[in-house]
Amino acid sequence: MIIALASGKGGTGKTTVCASLVRIWDKPVQAVDLDVEEPNLALYLKPELSGRLISEMEIPVSDQEKCTACGACSEICQFKAITVLGEYLLTFPEMCHGCGGCLAVCPEGALSLGARELGEVLWGQAGEIDFLMGRLRVGEAMSPPLMRDVKKRLDSSRDVIIDAPPGTSCPAINAVKDADVIVLVTEPTPFGFYDLKLAREAFTPIGKPMGVVMNRTGFGDAGAYDYCRATGLPILLEIPYDRRVAEKYSQGEVIADALPEFRGRFIELAARIRELAAGDLKEVSNG
């Protein structure tokens, strides 16, 4: 089973919940950080890394000698990554999406395969937990192709728990679309509610069961709760606001380990997620 932890709004506690959930989850389990722009899960699980590969995108390299400036490449390119200026062929590697169109249409064989570094894929062990992550190269704009390379190493022989990037655009969709169940982490504030709504709308077409973790409850407002009730989005867990949680998090600790009274809540969450995935979720409070 693949579980994706996602959120519209950033900073709602996705990584906090993810770290605790993998820690209490029945082993074997693989923890995967797909928030490749800002990967943070390793800061909490502190894995020993044992493997690394550089993720690259295939981009065109031009051979000016062979080019006849026919313009077929710039005609097919939808990303303004290759153009003919007078007699001269220019490429803009950072704009390239790696579709291979220019290479396929060039009648002169004037283009060959080159590579642009997207970032790195890293893996290792955090105790019994298999760990996998991607890290985008600073300055690189496109995370989905790197995420595809990370996902090639998902281990489907065990349960996989994914820490997804925030938001609802292409990187977030890429992180959750192969999941069997999507858990949206939010908070009962106007920002939390608005972004929860966006996330639900973005992920509904994927057609997988979704549930909510309501974090830092006890203040804020009722908007997110009302929305869950109105749309039938089950609240799988509430985590009351507690300053100690913020402090332990700031010390790099995993909440399920550092605060024993919270451990039971995450065990409960794990059970709820299994029920949700099996289509037989019982007795949910829904606020």
Partner: protein, 294 residues
């Protein structure tokens, strides 16, 4: 005219709450929400929309089942695994399609249409603090970077035409495509961080990004009282990288209380916290002028 962009690397550090407060404190400015994926600034600024335009960007491939011969040429050529074999025939998974046109070009029977993709909407609005340029990318869409560039162009045009001397922008979290588009050519980036391992890690990455594009950076440490050791680390980092630390703010529920009432923190209360935010804003303005002059 000066452009100031508020960023954070990590989400949830208080970037939007602070941008809203700065929008309240600043004068003669255009406000811009560049977090087009999950925009929240309008929830506090309550804009009145005066102009709306659809945002089209790129194309998407659609297979006409009446013409398709199921030869599989598209399936083989697609680098994004966007062509799926279904009982109804070959279909394009629009969530995976990047609109590269390769399948359209190579389809031997011309069965693939390639319409423009409607990705979102953008708006020019009026708020109690001045004009707001903002947008909403539709769920699951891409090309957020292009939409960000479009908003910045609109804001600049408006500032030039109507003699505003400041553009204040709320950026997106992360370091990817929308953030890069938010930063290029801005006069000052202000990074809002928090004293946690994720906060400092993400700050370092977003500062590296700014250095890469030669954008000066000011730093605000929010929720500083959560962990003073981490604060020290961030202060050292700022010193090593020659970044201006423009202020520190405590963890305070007033931020959420203000948000619930759709007010900025500086409208909601007038105590120490609001005063400190006022001083921080004055430092940011001075720093932006200084960097602009340099």
């Amino acid at each position: 005219m000066v452009e100031i962009t508020i960023i954070s690397g990590k989400g949830g550090t208080g970037k939007t709450s602070l941008t809203a407060a700065f929008a309240h404190l600043a004068s003669n400015h255009v406000i811009c929400d560049l977090d087009v994926d999950a925009p929240d600034l309008h929830l506090i600024l309550k804009p009145e929309n005066e102009y709306l335009e659809e945002f089209f960007s790129g194309h998407e491939a659609i297979i006409d089942q009446n013409l398709c011969s199921s030869c599989g040429e598209c399936l083989e050529r697609c680098k994004y695994n966007a062509i799926k074999e279904t009982p109804e025939g070959l279909m394009v998974d629009l969530l995976a399609c990047e609109g590269c046109k390769v399948c359209v070009h190579f389809c031997p029977v011309g069965a693939i249409e390639f319409p423009m993709r409607r990705c979102g909407q953008w708006y020019l609005s009026k708020t109690r603090f001045g004009p707001l340029v903002h947008a909403q990318l539709f769920p699951g869409e891409e090309n957020s970077g292009l939409l960000v560039s479009l908003l910045r162009k609109q804001a600049r045009g408006m500032a030039e035409k109507e003699n505003y001397n400041l553009i204040l922008s709320d950026g997106a979290p992360g370091i990817g495509c929308p953030v890069i588009s938010s930063l290029s050519g801005t006069d000052l980036a202000v990074a809002v961080t928090e004293p946690t391992p994720s906060g400092s890690h993400d700050l370092e990455r977003v500062v590296n990004l700014c250095e890469h594009f030669k954008i000066p950076v000011g730093v605000i440490i929010n929720k500083f009282d959560i962990n003073l050791d981490q604060v020290k680390k961030i202060e050292n980092f700022c010193q090593d990288h020659g970044l201006s630390l423009v202020g520190k703010l405590p963890y305070d529920h007033a931020f959420t209380e203000a948000m619930v009432q759709a007010k900025t923190i500086t409208e909601y209360q007038s105590g120490d916290l609001a005063e400190e935010i006022g001083r921080i804003w004055a430092r940011i303005e001075a720093l932006a002028q200084l960097k602009k002059a340099a």
